[in-house]
Symmetry: C2
Subunit: 408 residues, 2 copies
Amino acid sequence: MNAATPILSGLRVVEVSAFIAAPLGGMTLAQLGAEVIRIDPIGGNIDYRRWPLSPEGASIYWSGLNKAKRSIQLALNRPEGQEIAQALITAPGEDSGILLTNLPASGWMGYATLRERRPDLIMLRLTGNHDGTGAVDYTVNCASGFPIATGADTRPVNHVLPAWDIAAGLYLSTGLLAAERARRRTGEGQEITLALSDVMLASVGNLGYIADVQANGAVRPPMGNDLYGAFGRDFGTKDGRSLFVCAISNRQWRAIGKATGLAGKLAMVGPLLDVDLDDEGGRFQARHAIAAVLEPWFAAHTLEEVTAAFANSGVLWGPYRDFGQLVDEDPRCSLANPLFGEVAQPGIGTVLTPAAPLTFGDGAPGRRPPAAAPRLGEHTDAVLAEVLGLSAAAIGRLHDAGVVAGPA
Amino acid sequence: MNAATPILSGLRVVEVSAFIAAPLGGMTLAQLGAEVIRIDPIGGNIDYRRWPLSPEGASIYWSGLNKAKRSIQLALNRPEGQEIAQALITAPGEDSGILLTNLPASGWMGYATLRERRPDLIMLRLTGNHDGTGAVDYTVNCASGFPIATGADTRPVNHVLPAWDIAAGLYLSTGLLAAERARRRTGEGQEITLALSDVMLASVGNLGYIADVQANGAVRPPMGNDLYGAFGRDFGTKDGRSLFVCAISNRQWRAIGKATGLAGKLAMVGPLLDVDLDDEGGRFQARHAIAAVLEPWFAAHTLEEVTAAFANSGVLWGPYRDFGQLVDEDPRCSLANPLFGEVAQPGIGTVLTPAAPLTFGDGAPGRRPPAAAPRLGEHTDAVLAEVLGLSAAAIGRLHDAGVVAGPA
């Protein structure tokens, strides 16, 4: 971790958000050094108590997605609170005037309304569908084709990873920086929208599934853990663990034969099935026979033995781990990886906490060190003073009137 | 689709890449208007024939991930080809001098070497692991904990979506724009690296799975298609279709009872199990009983009947679709959605093709219309002329010497 100024220092983004996608987009910018002010209604937004909770009742979910931000609590259901939110969003400065939200953007938070206060406002808005109707990761995912293609049969299998939310968050951070670049050149802001289902549809198209249907009439069927178009799948070990091994390149393919001592047997699969094993498509076609040769070898070795046999062999593989094994076993998930720090998170304890995964050259403007999420309202007074220039007395009156709230 | 200048017009990025993550990062920028020049060795890189293929043998995979780019073929195994690649990467101009790669960056493509030619170079490099060792989406995913937590039991289930590659691509586009912003302010470039496994680890941490292990000693078990921490799961319909329905908010929860006519029975589940159904955690705890009440209703109705019953009801739900049903049934996956255009893709045909999912205000700098991928080497001559200022005669000599190649 370099100690230089973070790369997005000076940029200010106001976030009015909940759940995963918009918070992740804002957090990514915060982890790169932007000042990201998350505005919440007093008591927190709908995601503030989302499971899992810590023994003390704090949301592990919320803290994970709001690291490195500043938090302010405002009475958003009252005109006085809305006025403060508008003032924060439209505060002057060439590095501010940027709003990121996934909440309904009408009334006081409508683009046209906010733009009256700051004509060069940049506003990024995540919606469910492109027509403005609602959708969440789960209801987008079921239509994507992936749950039907996942697993061994056509019963739908939902992935536990909210992949569309993650991609949406990172499209938002990309779009926000693109818009800020454009504003710097033209002086003009704009409203940018992103529909969660468009993220899914674009990805399905980018990965070729739409064209495969249209050009080939092909609908990718479920094929368990087999990798499509090359050789790769899971195997069980002698000690009851599982691992994934694959070969994309010919070099990786030859490495499997060499490391297992099964090169001779594997070579026999080509003539057996009349396929070219020096071609990844040929290896896909012959995958069941290849797996039948490899299966007894994995079943006769422990994970430790496999690890030793594959060390420095050029084999592309990895063990399956549950979340506990990931934390306990994987050296990449530890302080040995500069991605992580031990960070004290209020209400949760000191936990292994990631920075942004982008890493920067020594001495160059980089990422922030791993940081905690704020307590709700932790920066209420500081933000009111620094961004709006309010006096301590004025801030005190807002507290007394219940328009703002400090740390929960 | 607005007809204004794309938002990243003028920015030039050189990409030396293969597969998904780095190409997606570059494509996202290209779809927003950047000039992205993908350099490939003559004949194409290792991903050029990746499945699925069209009937004519063109890679649907490659074309999906390289849309809106320019393509140049160079003899990268010869000093003359390397010299041209270096010249393209380090060409002068405040909007150029940016390299995006996921290939081994040593020798002619090492950062130190390139920086000698352009001290303010920005270089983004995707690696497998943070220590520089190799990994791909599949071998990162198996360690992530998600395949063990996916499905109904602890047998690992790989998701078919390369989610880590997608996230990595979008971290790269975010990081690239952050670095370009910093260079514009400081005049300094830098090397930025991103490890695919760090993308996974940061995401696992961001979503709370690491802290859940450390603070609670809890390892999320597989729970089929049940949504964790709230009510949501799949149901089968009378006509053999599947759908997903969930309730995060209380409003969504009440909508299910109202639309199915089962509000009274659902209310009985609270006292039956001593849980508070006005709390999402309570609904999670009571999910099996809730599902038992709902299951016969879905089984007694066709998907069409459910669709009618849920229309404008506020129920958060969606049908499962395979890739064919997505293309055939979903109006969002059609020209009715401004995300898509019908685009003629060489070697594949005219297919429904997405733009970037970010949408921009009318008249504002926006995204490019949906665009095809180039033919390999389609822009060889144009790039040599426009970026390096080579004459037609000089370009002809490079062709004759086999240093460059035009359209495949």
